[in-house]
Symmetry: C2
Subunit: 180 residues, 2 copies
């Protein structure tokens, strides 16, 4: 069951450096992109996450219209859909439908969540810095939720394997947890 | 054996979002920090990597003296040393010695590499953006090398397991590669 994650714990949803599906737009017109160029930049009050987004991307254009986006965490079972979403632009197609993914209404922002994903951050862009072809979008997390069987304040790799981009068509799976 | 990695492939050393050891300073006075708030921001010509560094960190102070740093990738066998390096400041101790890690001369920058790590990026800070308590250091990669048994243009999880921070004392291991 998906449950709310306290905002002070929101950054742990992206902390492992996993591949994400980032959605922009509105209920009428949304798209998404496969993404792994992100990092937290502030843990809380509020939690800030940075996304380095190429300005040519269609999802970048959608995000800029309302300065809102959702971050969604796919796992091993969504490998094919996640890779597919990174190979085509949503400018002329409905990328959700094309990839077999389901948009659902977010709590506080206009862009949809990706229903099949195990964790979600709802974000508003509060600042932007340009670095050559990319915008560094500084995103305030306004809502967070995750599948409680898979996330207890951190991902549980024995139950849910995040994807980590290696190269080309190769992804790494986070399968084990070790404790110091 | 450690071999040079072409700069056009350098970003794949950090692309999976793994935990890093980032070193600053000189041969006479160096320190390092455990780190996972990074992302590539440009693939090549040159490759740029962003580090979001809290300005209170001693390694930040060292990096600011010469605007150079090294990024080093520890694996599973360095779990204890990597965690330890994240729990203490190097302001009053030699953190390399404290953690049982060995500084070795880099090819093109003043800060040392961490000998025990499997991959290395040598970087110069070319731009900085401030976000509240953190500096976004935009780093140009000027040299890259990796253990050729573990990295063939991407990490090989069956041979070398990167660490991914989960929470507290918990780290995830990237143990499997899946191909779409």
């Amino acid at each position: 069951m998906k449950t709310q994650v306290p905002l002070k714990n929101a950054k742990w949803i992206v902390e492992p450096g996993c591949v994400l599906l980032v959605a922009g737009g509105t209920a009428d017109r949304a798209s998404l992109m496969t993404f792994s160029w992100q990092t937290p930049v502030k843990t809380m009050d509020p939690c800030l996450v940075l996304l380095a987004v190429n300005r040519v991307r269609y999802t970048h254009e959608l995000i800029r219209r309302n300065n809102e986006l959702t971050i969604n965490v796919p796992g091993r079972s969504l490998l094919k859909q996640t890779h597919l979403a990174g190979t085509v632009t949503g400018r002329k197609i409905d990328k959700f439908a094309y990839c077999g993914l389901t948009p659902v209404k977010a709590n506080l922002v206009e862009p949809p969540l990706v229903a099949e994903c195990a964790g979600h951050l709802e974000c508003r862009v509060v600042d932007t810095h340009a670095v050559q072809s990319h915008d560094l979008l500084i995103c305030e997390v306004v809502d967070a939720s995750a599948e409680s069987d898979f996330f207890d304040g951190a991902w549980i790799p024995e139950r849910f394997q995040t994807l980590h981009y290696l190269h080309g068509k190769r992804y790494g799976l986070l399968t084990h947890c070790v404790e110091v």
